[in-house]
Symmetry: D2
Subunit: 248 residues, 4 copies
């Protein structure tokens, strides 16, 4: 049984993580901590892995505290800057920190498939759909997908997708990120969806993910908790680092 | 047997129309005309209906010529201005001209369904996908769909769809036409597709059309040729005017 | 303010209905009843409309009790037999009972669009996707959609969709209901979805609904509560009876 | 310039291959052969690679003839039996034969992504859509996809997808191949499409391919012609063997 601490255990995500850890046969919940708790070797209570779902303002401090306690830590956040990263790095000589922007396995695989497919198609575009309360557009995942597609196309000697558009006064062609067009839909009824479109003459390939409930993040959280010890010490980014995917 | 003339009979669309008319049991092809032919009662050869697939610059003259010959005329074009319309109207006292921006039955029905559904959903957006050689974005069909949705929402007392977006520096939210967001994808592998998205809490309704071959326009052309005589004399717009759809 | 009673108020659906009624400006909740409560004019407490989310075994008795109390009643159930219907009908001389198999507005509209589109396409098939705990296949909604399509095709003089299949040892072509092929997918991640496919040479039209949360039923429940008094007295079936849809 | 022969050069696919080879800067067409031509070192005219689009009855003989002439050969067919394979194998000591059931790059990638994703999801099903003139159901590609998914699930210790279905009198659940449900849609408007559905609680991942024109096969044909020399001598199956995909 691997010993697990949950930081932010009373939050929306944290409370689901508590249940998911309790439901996993090979994980043992040894600490539930929230904003009024100190974060020390004592309160971490022998945890081998801490799972942090708090917020970007405090997560660096949490990573340092875990490192001091000799505990690996998984942080669910999309909000770290490069400065944040540099700040924590020296403390991670003997332990691991894994930053995960998106725990949905479908989203991680979609991005990977986008990277693999990009070199084989003349055209590529990204559409993301989210609930209408989201403040920013496009989503971080869609922007990252565009980057990944762009890099794969460049490596294969491909330029931008063909586009004869001359008249587009109202901006219907959307954002162009890293040379890839990205469209953001905001509609009630969606939580988070993404559709990646690849096209050649006479064929299209679509990779699409729909997430409809936060429950979708739990398999990724459990997977990360189980496998983080396989990583080298230091800082790692992305759930794919702990999945057994073929080498690129 | 209804007698039919095809104007622009050697063109890409016209040549398909010739075949479609020949294949229809109840239609008889009596004239195939192209750019070197005069357009007179004589050359129209007794046609009851002329089908014109030429180009917006000459189609008004063709409509007038057909009217003078006492022949109903169907024009496939998305390019008439209001001035064009006013120009031909006085000549249509005894015959009919039917202007059809889109002969695809799936596209006509999609727009109709959009009008019916719009009042029942909190959110509505439109995505259109076309081949990358298209010069304008969004497509005329998508812009018209946005207008139809907007009108139905207003009639039902609904304002714009909810949208909390504050940060969208790159324009990922696309065009906003008549208060409805419209997105244009350009990718090899598509001819013309449209997806209309409606959303309420916990549910989405999608109406999607994909056209992949010009053959898709022929059932609409034949339908129009069969039914145009049911219309009142004068000018009419849209294939829906000759379909037996429930009254709105 | 219209006075509303909820029957089965402590159940999964009933408790959501209680919240939805409380949230509607023009509805007033005057009674919350559950299995230990009698159903009389007194306990209904002046309700003009009762909303029943209990189970098929008791709903007929509930309809009778509401009728005796002079109260219109809306029943959410897909389970009434013809005998049930005949049993309650004589009691509904002065009040209305509305039986609703599916309160999702997207599903009601999808079926309506299917009926309208069916006559214009050579091919039509239905796919439904549900969670893997569902006991029956296909869903009642998909079976009803097939029936509606079949009737519209017959009316238009169309036979079955073309199908040259000669070898299908394993049954991949799915069920054939009323001459229309119906496919049932069972996968974790879905609540209830339906995709209706129409095809002509060179074009397809897709109508798709995805429901991901029981919240999606509430707009339909509120709509029914608001509009049931417009119906004639007696028994009515389907949410579409209280929606302002164009006449067929 | 690599020297290419096309066998079956007058056929539907062969004539497109002729054009595609002529359009490729690094390929030179040295022979166009059809049913009245002998297949010898002389008629192959120094070709390094022969591309055969004839039919399963003669393709083994063609492979032998190419091998005798010292020429690699690519065969577009889904129709070889194990006996066929054994028959040609001894002749391939010094040359290569590459059998390709599906040249569409989107279809090859979809199958590969299915194999990668399968181990991460509780549920998996396959839907294929084809034109209604197809004789068999499901398609060979869909059956192969089911097999690939099944193998990946087994390797990961997963059994069949969950399925509580008790009542399915009409067979709506479709075919069960290798433990994976496969559904076949036949509708006018499709050439060949496939949708692979993966689901976990709260999320779905869709991989979908649509092919609408035989043109989609040409990039795969050209890719195979360019890269076949990298393979070891002997018999190989599948376009993926000549694509630079990450090792599994």
């Amino acid at each position: 049984m691997k010993k697990i601490a949950v930081i932010g255990a009373e939050g929306r995500m944290g409370s689901q993580v508590v249940r998911a850890v309790n439901a996993a046969d090979d994980l043992e919940l040894v600490a539930e901590l929230d904003r009024n708790d100190d974060l020390t070797a004592e309160t971490l209570n022998g945890a081998e892995v801490a799972i942090d779902f708090t917020n970007p303002q405090v997560s660096q401090a949490h990573v340092l505290a875990c490192a001091m306690a000799g505990c690996d830590v998984i942080v669910g956040t999309s909000g770290w800057s490069e400065a944040d990263t540099k700040f924590v790095l020296p403390a991670l000589e003997k332990t691991r920190a894994l930053i995960v922007p998106n725990f949905a396995i479908s989203a991680v695989l979609a991005m990977r498939f986008a990277a693999e497919a990009a070199r084989y198609f003349e055209s590529a575009e990204v559409i993301e759909m989210h609930h209408p309360d989201k403040l920013d557009a496009p989503s971080g995942t869609a922007a990252h997908t565009a980057q990944v597609i762009s890099e794969a196309r460049k490596e294969a000697g491909l330029g931008d997708s063909p586009d004869a558009t001359e008249y587009d006064e109202d901006g219907a062609r959307g954002a162009k990120l890293h040379g890839v067009h990205v469209h953001a839909v905001r509609a009630r009824g969606y939580m988070a969806s993404e559709e990646i479109i690849f096209g050649n003459a006479g064929e299209t390939l679509i990779v699409r993910t729909d997430t409809t409930d936060r429950a979708c993040y739990m398999p990724g959280v459990v997977l990360a908790a189980r496998n983080i010890h396989r990583l080298s010490t230091g800082l790692h980014i992305g759930l794919d680092t702990v999945m057994d995917l073929p080498n690129e």
